[in-house]
């Protein structure tokens, strides 16, 4: 039934948006009458439990869940803002720019820490660190890199073992990859040295964390850099094959953010969903399969470098800046 509905929906939407959807799904409440349209870059498999726990308590609603890459989420929403009610994305800079440019609706009376929201419009609801993920088998006999410096050393000393077997985001495609890269570059020069090494070892570039984790599990690649640890932890099927490492020197932590479209007619329903997301009710220990790490104020966040929601994020979105950065990155990572 759901499949048929999805097909109908897909057929209806297809001509309108020549978009490269990764997934489109309709989640129905028990007696859903109103449908919230969500555009997101989070894999359906990971996000589905969150939606389902919402529909359990709000059976009068349906949720149409559209998945695209973060760059596509941004551009698609920007070009047709009234086609969606909520935007969920891990690319904080793009989300912030949407708010800055007036695409989001301010929602009053939401109790949320100031560092996790912007203009009462953009709300962070997860805390997800950028990690190094390795294939355990591939590192047999090799030291497990605990930091970027150790990773550089292990790559430099074992080029034959890693040539063509390193993975990272293609920051030209992935908004999140670009965000992690630019934030890395801000913090430390180590990033460029690591990129140089990775470039010299013919690093494979990926659009998404999911793909990288698949390849890691298969053993095609031995190590990947700046992967979302949360995605890796979510994959119980590959848990015994891979290991998630948080670099000890520093690790950028990203907030998955949500905003409500300025043009939506369903503000109150959208606000219900927004409240559900930031309440972290969806992450009850008994809810299996959910592995997005919720943003809670109880945990100690002082050791993390959480990417700040401030106008600085827009600097790397500047066309010239972006071109400069990507030129530099390309010349480092693509050396053939």
């Amino acid at each position: 039934m759901r499949y048929i509905l999805f097909l109908i929906l897909a057929l209806l939407l297809a001509p309108a948006f020549a978009l490269d959807w990764e997934d489109q799904q309709l989640f129905e409440g028990n007696n859903g009458t109103q449908t919230l349209r969500v555009i997101s870059n989070t894999d359906t498999a990971i996000f589905a439990p969150v939606i389902q726990s919402f529909l359990q308590s709000h059976p009068q609603l349906n949720i149409e869940y559209n998945v695209a890459s973060s760059a596509n989420v941004y551009s698609s929403f920007r070009s047709t803002p009234d086609a969606y009610d909520l935007v969920v994305s891990s690319a904080m800079d793009l989300q912030l720019k949407l708010v800055n440019d007036g695409f989001a609706q301010p929602i009053e009376d939401i109790a949320h820490p100031a560092w996790a929201k912007w203009r009462r419009s953009l709300f962070g609801f997860t805390l997800e660190p950028a990690s190094i993920v390795i294939n355990k088998a591939a590192f047999k006999g090799l030291p497990t890199p605990g930091s970027r410096q150790e990773m550089i050393e292990v790559l430099r000393e074992n080029p034959e073992a890693f040539t063509g077997r390193i993975g990272t985001y293609d920051i030209r495609q992935s908004g999140l990859g670009y965000l992690f890269a630019t934030q890395d570059a801000r913090v430390s020069e180590t990033y460029w040295r690591l990129t140089e090494i990775m470039g010299s070892l013919n690093t494979q570039l990926y659009c998404c964390s999911g793909d990288m984790i698949d390849e890691l599990a298969k053993g095609t690649i031995a190590i990947s850099y700046n992967v979302l640890g949360s995605y890796a932890s979510a994959r119980s099927d590959v848990a015994d094959k891979i290991e998630v490492i948080l670099p000890s020197d520093f690790h950028n932590t990203m907030m998955r953010t949500v905003l409500i479209a300025q043009t939506t007619q369903k503000t109150s329903a959208a606000t219900l969903f927004l409240r559900h997301l930031i309440s972290s009710r969806w992450s009850k220990p008994d809810t299996e399969n959910v592995s997005l790490p919720p943003l809670t104020t109880q945990q100690d966040n002082s050791q993390r470098s959480i990417i700040a929601l401030d106008p600085g994020l827009m600097v790397f979105l500047d066309a010239m800046k972006r071109k400069t950065f990507i030129d530099e990155w390309e010349s480092a990572i693509i050396q053939q």
């Binding site: 708010v99 800055n100 440019d101 007036g102 912007w118 203009r119 009462r120 801000r186 700040a308 929601l309 401030d310 106008p311 600085g312 994020l313 827009m314 600097v315 790397f316 500047d318 066309a319 010239m320 800046k321 400069t324």
Partner: protein, 456 residues
């Protein structure tokens, strides 16, 4: 029952206080608006400074590499624009007049001077923004080009700050105003006080005290006080003159009357012819009647004069009644009429002793006049229900048909003309009672005697 209130045209204190408070209110409002405007200017200036720093940072990052302008915007250029209220940030960078990057539709201000930065308030995407624009000339190789950067920011934080400042300024204003009102009231009363003290000292004086005011007063009040003093001097003179005149006139008239009366009495003892005796008796009666009438008229005049300025003092009515009884006992003896006093131990009232004594004496006089020979007049002084003196005789009482007329005359007030004898005596007592906010009740006892009650 004191002297009539003067006509008033507003209160000096009120006028002074209102003027002072009005001035304070105007000053407070002025203070509030000036403070707010000044605060707004400072807040705007601090926003301008940050925007300026941001623009400068962007321009500083501009370089020409391989003949192409590159600008590596520093992260801090936008990060520094972070505010508490998460203000939105817009920017645009132009090379000469072509857009390099940023918001193409951001209004680009017409620059008056190429040297100094331009500050401008405007509207973008429907919201108020503050915009700073600056430019810089880049020279590289044979290229010489002008880079212009403009950075704009919304003003949520600014208006938040302004609101806070306005609220605080209003609070300070209210505080300042309240303090100033208290001070104004204090200043007013300290200014008015000498005037009040003067009025009080004049009011406190007894009616006979017409001496000049010698206490020092503020210079503004000296004309008032000196004319008051001159008025009092004249009044004093005229009062003592008229008092002297009345006393002298009475003396002049009464002494010859007394002589005639005494002669008549002596003669009466010596003549035997009945018609001569009859003439002498009529003469004596006529003298007595006219002297009694003159006395009562003078008493009445004096009471009318005194009633306007009572000299209050504590009086024991029992003592007063006892004195009157003592004074009139000889008159009673002549006709074997006993004046019997029935009193509480003391009955204290506040009033003018001379007037009350006069009233009581007049009432007893009446009772004596109408009492039969060998009868009793009872004088009761009681404090309950209210202090009163009752005088009860055993005469024929008030004729019931005249009683209404008597009462009516009292309610009409001082109609003394044409009433001599008991009527005027009652009128005097009535006037005194009224002057003391008391009442005079007349009636007859069940045995038929008259009963007059003077109560406070």
């Amino acid at each position: 029952m004191m002297s009539k209130a003067a006509f008033t045209s507003g209160s000096l204190r009120y006028r002074l206080a209102v003027t002072l408070i009005g001035v304070v209110a105007v000053l407070t409002l002025l203070f509030y608006f000036v403070l707010r405007a000044y605060a707004a200017q400072i807040a705007l200036q601090s926003q301008d400074n940050i925007l300026n720093a941001s623009v400068t940072a962007i321009l500083d990052a501009a370089i020409i590499r391989d003949g192409v302008v590159k600008i590596d915007i520093p992260y801090a250029a936008f990060s520094m624009l972070n505010t508490e209220t998460d203000d939105r940030v817009f920017y645009a960078i132009y090379q000469n007049s072509s857009l390099l990057s940023g918001y193409a539709d951001l209004p680009f201000p017409q620059r008056e001077s190429r040297m100094s930065n331009t500050y401008k308030s405007g509207v973008y995407l429907g919201v108020a923004i503050r915009q700073v624009t600056a430019s810089r000339v880049l020279v590289g190789g044979d290229i010489r080009t002008r880079i212009t950067a403009t950075v704009a920011q919304t003003q949520d934080s600014l208006s938040g700050i302004l609101q806070r400042i306005a609220r605080n300024a209003a609070l300070y204003g209210v505080g300042f105003f309240s303090l100033a009102v208290v001070l104004a009231i204090w200043a007013t009363s300290s200014t008015i006080d000498p005037l009040k003290r003067l009025a009080e000292s004049v009011a406190r004086r007894g009616p006979q005290d017409l001496s000049p005011i010698v206490k020092p007063v503020p210079s503004e009040m000296t004309p008032l006080v000196s004319s008051l003093n001159s008025l009092m001097t004249r009044l004093d003179k005229s009062f003592s003159q008229s008092e002297e005149f009345i006393a002298e006139a009475a003396h002049r008239v009464r002494t010859p009357l007394a002589t005639v009366r005494s002669h008549a009495e002596v003669t009466l003892q010596r003549v035997d012819k009945e018609e001569n005796r009859q003439a002498l008796r009529s003469m004596i009666r006529a003298i007595d009647e006219s002297s009694r009438a003159a006395g009562q008229l003078l008493d009445h005049a004096m009471i009318t004069f005194r009633a306007n300025q009572l000299e209050y003092q504590a009086i024991d009515l029992v003592e007063l009644a006892r004195e009157c009884v003592q004074r009139l006992t000889p008159m009673g003896d002549m006709r074997d009429v006993e004046l019997r006093l029935e009193t509480d131990t003391t009955v204290l009232v506040s009033g003018d002793a001379i007037l009350i004594q006069n009233a009581v004496r007049n009432l007893m006089d009446n009772a004596l006049k109408y009492s039969p020979v060998e009868s009793v007049i009872i004088v009761k002084v009681r404090s309950e229900p209210s202090p009163h003196i009752s005088i009860i005789d055993q005469g024929a009482g008030f004729p019931s048909d005249e009683m209404h007329a008597l009462v009516a005359r009292f309610t009409r007030g001082r109609n003394a003309s044409g009433t001599i004898g008991s009527g005027l005596g009652l009128t005097i007592a009535q006037d005194v009672a009224l002057a003391h906010d008391g009442t005079l009740n007349i009636g007859n006892t069940t045995e038929g005697g008259a009963c007059v009650t003077f109560s406070f």
